[in-house]
């Protein structure tokens, strides 16, 4: 066995070192607090807006570092977190509804570095903080929705049981009006079966009207609201996962609120749009029988029975059937693609079984008739009334495509007529499920680290000093080989940071625990090697051979120990969630790099020191 170390392996070490330095470097740059402005559809971002923003900020005496205009966004870099909030509020007011103003942390990494794809690691909520959104479920609309459904159910039941009567929404429930007292009794028992738990009471009526009040008790309302919030919670979780944000916190807060926290630098404008968005699709047949009465409907407002008036994107009125064939919640998956026939963006959609069979039935019966896709978007609005914020929402419904049904189709089909960005966004929303109740962002803030800045600084100091102490220990205990060990361990640390930065990983405290563990394992690998070399020396092997044998024998042990730990890491990564994943990722990365640095790099360094000396009498170990 010799200590010779081939040149190509030495070259690899230098390449790896350069890689480690390059990709860990961005972590040294601190981020600027910033406000990011992006334009909604129709609005433009240009020099005029930039000048307006600059003017607004100067008038309000808010100091800023720079204003940068790029294709997608306008970025205002500010001096600190306080002015960031003020600037955001100011610009939110002055720019109006067509622009999304969001808080952001802007990278200060120079462009020559980003050109290599080098980015800093995102620090997690516990270490750095991030953006906090407080979202509120629209309680009124949840109740309205539930009552509407109850009205529909009651109507259907009355029809099925041949009871003549009407039902309409009333205060905290439904008012059912019947023709006779006998009908009223029958209706009451049917409704009691239909919706257990409701309070049914006779109301005084007239000679031919026998009203019945159906009231939903508060407890049932609260239970329904809880269910809605739980559903929204999991929908939001899906959406955030789909956005690719690592380590978010999504938790319920109070009776009707959900707090969402996203760590570090994110495109908060996009996050905001996705979180609060309630865009969905509906498929309806075009009402061809009444097509000639479109203009009449537009002018008089009288829409033929069974039809509804819609407008297309370019403002053309169109009458569609009242009946919805399929809608957002029946969609199983949605992907944004480019339609190979037309070359335009499209969303490929798959419905669930119920939706698919409805779609198949309708399209079979209506080949040749136009089918319309209605895009429904809920846009929250905030107005100031008497100095108080009043929140409301506008529902925008527009027809994005009408095309004749060429042949029957069922579960899977394409929806065209969208722009690329819209197709992406819609696919994401449909995939992540529709919110069971509209939800508005009522508050947006930048939050500090949840562990507290003081804690983190103390922790970093502690680790730094312990690291120094460990390195000193190695130099004293193993002398020359202690230096080799230290170099290998340091390179390992550098590599872990570089690889995790390259992955765009989010570093959290559990992640740091993972890194600490791998540093420990890297230390262990080096100790194993050094102890083996000492063992060989004690057994009387010559110094150079001892080094070679030491590395050789320890490598097998290191391999077994590390592969076992790696298996653990991989399993944790695939099955764990949130913080466990962060831990597992850093563990896996660290084990791979430590295997390389401990076995290969440290051997390279050792051979650099010793391979030239043929007659080595003693080893400094």
């Amino acid at each position: 066995m010799t200590l010779e170390y081939p040149n190509w392996k030495k070259a690899i070490i230098f390449v790896v070192l350069a890689f480690g330095l390059l990709y860990s470097l961005p972590n040294l740059y601190r981020q600027d607090p910033a406000v990011q402005i992006s334009a909604s559809r129709g609005a433009v971002l240009d020099e005029t807006i930039k000048d307006k923003v600059q003017g607004d900020l100067e008038r309000a005496k808010i100091g800023f570092k720079a204003i940068e205009l790029s294709e997608k966004r306008l970025l205002v870099r500010l001096l600190d977190g306080d002015t960031q909030l003020r600037a955001s509020e100011l610009l939110h007011g002055s720019l109006g509804e067509n622009y999304t103003v969001a808080l952001n942390l802007a990278s200060t990494v120079p462009s020559w570095l980003t050109r290599f794809g080098a980015h800093p690691m995102t620090l997690g909520l516990d270490l750095q903080g991030g953006v906090h959104f407080l979202m509120e479920v629209d309680r009124k609309s949840v109740i309205e929705h539930a009552d509407e459904r109850l009205v529909d159910d009651i109507k259907t039941t009355l029809r099925d049981r041949n009871i003549r009567g009407t039902a309409a929404r009333a205060d905290n429930g439904v008012l059912v009006t019947l023709r006779s007292d006998e009908d009223r009794k029958r209706a009451a028992s049917e409704i009691a079966n239909l919706a257990p738990g409701v309070v049914i009471e006779d109301v005084a009526g007239s000679l031919d009207s026998f009203p019945l009040s159906v009231k939903v008790p508060d407890e049932a309302r609260i239970a329904a609201m809880d269910q809605v919030i739980d559903q929204n919670l999991s929908t939001l979780r899906n959406r955030i996962n789909a956005l690719g944000v690592a380590e978010p916190v999504i938790q319920r807060q109070g009776a009707a609120r959900i707090a969402v926290q996203l760590p570090g630098i994110q495109d908060t404008a996009a996050a905001k749009k996705i979180l609060g968005a309630t865009a969905t699709l509906e498929y309806r047949l075009s009402d061809v029988e009444n097509a000639s009465r479109v203009m009449e409907a537009v002018q008089t407002g009288r829409v033929p029975a069974g039809a509804r008036l819609y407008y297309t994107r370019d403002g053309q009125p169109v009458l569609l059937s009242r009946r919805v064939i399929a809608q957002g919640d029946e969609i199983v998956t949605a992907t944004s693609i480019i339609d190979s026939d037309s070359g335009t963006p499209a969303v490929s959609i798959r419905l669930n079984n119920a939706g698919g069979s409805k779609m198949l039935q309708v399209t079979e019966e209506n080949v040749g008739r136009p089918l319309a896709v209605v895009f429904i978007e809920r846009i929250p609005e905030t107005r100031m009334v008497d100095g108080k914020e009043v929140r409301s929402a506008r529902i925008k419904e527009e027809v994005i495509s009408i095309a004749n049904i060429r042949e029957p189709f069922g579960k899977s089909f394409l929806t065209t007529g969208l722009q690329k960005a819209e197709a992406d966004e819609l696919a994401l929303l449909l995939r992540a499920g529709s919110l069971s109740a509209p939800i508005d962002i009522v508050e947006e803030r930048i939050i500090g680290p949840s562990l507290g800045r003081d804690n983190i600084e103390a922790g970093v100091d502690a680790v730094f000093y312990s690291f120094l102490f460990v390195m000193a220990f190695f130099v004293i205990y193993y002398k020359m080989f202690g230096i080799v060990t230290n170099l290998a361990v340091l390179l390992n640390l550098l590599l872990v940071v570089a690889v995790m930065s390259l992955f765009g990983a989010t570093l959290t405290l559990p992640g740091l625990a993972g890194i600490a563990l791998t540093i420990g394992m890297s230390v262990d690998a080096n100790v194993l090697i050094n102890e083996r070399i000492r063992e060989e020396l004690r057994a009387g092997t010559s110094p150079l051979a001892s080094i070679a044998v030491g590395y050789e024998k320890a490598s097998g042990t290191i391999l077994d120990a590390n592969v076992t730990a790696l298996l653990g890491g991989i399993a944790l990564f695939s099955f764990g969630s949130g913080p466990i994943r962060g831990f597992a990722l850093s563990l896996c990365v660290g084990i791979l790099t430590s295997m390389y640095t401990a076995v290969s790099v440290s051997r390279g360094i050792a051979s650099l020191f010793y391979s030239g000396r043929k007659k080595l009498a003693r080893l400094s170990i």
Binding site: L509, E531, T557, T564
Partner: protein, 312 residues
């Protein structure tokens, strides 16, 4: 320089009945406490109350955390919220405080700072940060980790080694978790991460010793398993002590200087490193002996078959 023993000849295996007895006793205590007392889950798992305070001037967060702790709110999370005088506190309400407003008022009272008045802007309950799925996925993850260990060690070593290694590792993890149950210390996500890293440390330590056992079984033909195990532990003793010493040093630094938030994680790792080191010597190796591991177990299977075929 040489501080740690070389050529030691401790008879570790002689202690196997005592050491396995202690290990089982510790396990029984840990499992008993986990079933009877359970764990004191932190805010991350249970949810609690969120209180927002607005101070007139900037606030020292560490100081504030100290005040809350003194008022009985253990491990409150204190964060800045937008500005440095806006503070958000997440905590578990004191016993008997059923509504969030009441908790808010007592937090406000506890957080009083001379010359820097504060007002309460919001008090709400918050749900848990991690859902139920974490627990389920965590259990699945641990089962798969164990399965992966079992498979790899069985292939590289032998199934008796695999079982012994996994039993030793599970022993460490359970005792470490049990420690948090017995002491009633708060169990949060960081402690969980600490315990998972214990699992990694423990298996690493056991494998290193086992690797030497395998080597010695193959090299020292005439020796009994008892003696092989003893020699292997003694030969790796200096490495075991140095590695544990260095690892312990880092975690101790974290424990003493890392501030309150890191203490839980550091504590789980301190316990884990100590137990993990001891268990590879006093649990894993005695288990091997107990399972009747011999040199034959580690010989390539094909050779065995060939030997069998040659018999008349």
């Amino acid at each position: 320089m040489n501080l740690f023993p070389y050529d030691s000849k401790f008879d570790f295996m002689r202690l196997r009945k005592v050491s396995l007895g202690i290990a089982i006793a510790l396990l029984v205590i840990a499992i008993g406490s986990l079933t009877v007392r359970g764990l004191k889950f932190a805010l991350d798992f249970t949810g609690g109350t969120v209180v927002e305070l607005k101070f007139e001037k900037e606030v020292d967060i560490g100081d504030l955390r100290g005040k809350l702790e003194a008022a009985g709110f253990e491990s409150a999370q204190v964060q800045t919220f937008g500005a440095s005088n806006d503070i958000v506190v997440r905590l578990q309400p004191l016993a008997g405080q059923v509504n969030a407003e009441k908790t808010g008022d007592s937090v406000l009272a506890a957080a009083r700072i001379e010359g820097n008045p504060a007002k309460l802007t919001r008090a709400d309950f918050v749900g848990p940060q991690v859902g139920k799925e974490l627990a389920e996925q965590g259990v699945i993850a641990v089962i798969f980790v164990a399965f992966g260990f079992l498979l790899y060690i069985s292939i590289r070593f032998e199934w008796k080694f695999a079982i012994a290694a996994i039993l030793a590792t599970m022993h460490d993890v359970i005792i470490c978790t049990g420690y948090f149950s017995v002491t009633g210390k708060e169990f949060d996500l960081n402690v969980l991460a600490g315990i998972l890293s214990v699992m990694g440390y423990s298996i690493n330590d056991t494998i290193v010793v086992f690797d030497r056992v395998r080597e010695n079984f193959r090299g020292l033909h005439r020796l009994e398993a008892y003696e092989v195990l003893n020699r292997s532990v003694n030969q790796t003793l200096s490495r075991t002590i140095i590695t544990s010493f260095v690892a312990l040093l880092t975690v101790l630094a974290l424990y003493f200087f890392g501030g309150s938030a890191l203490r839980g994680m550091a504590e789980s790792q301190i316990i884990g490193i100590i137990i993990g080191t001891l268990s590879s010597i006093f649990v894993a190796c005695p288990l091997l002996l107990w399972f009747g591991t011999t040199r034959i177990d580690l010989l390539p299977r094909a050779k065995d078959d060939a030997d069998l075929a040659r018999r008349p």
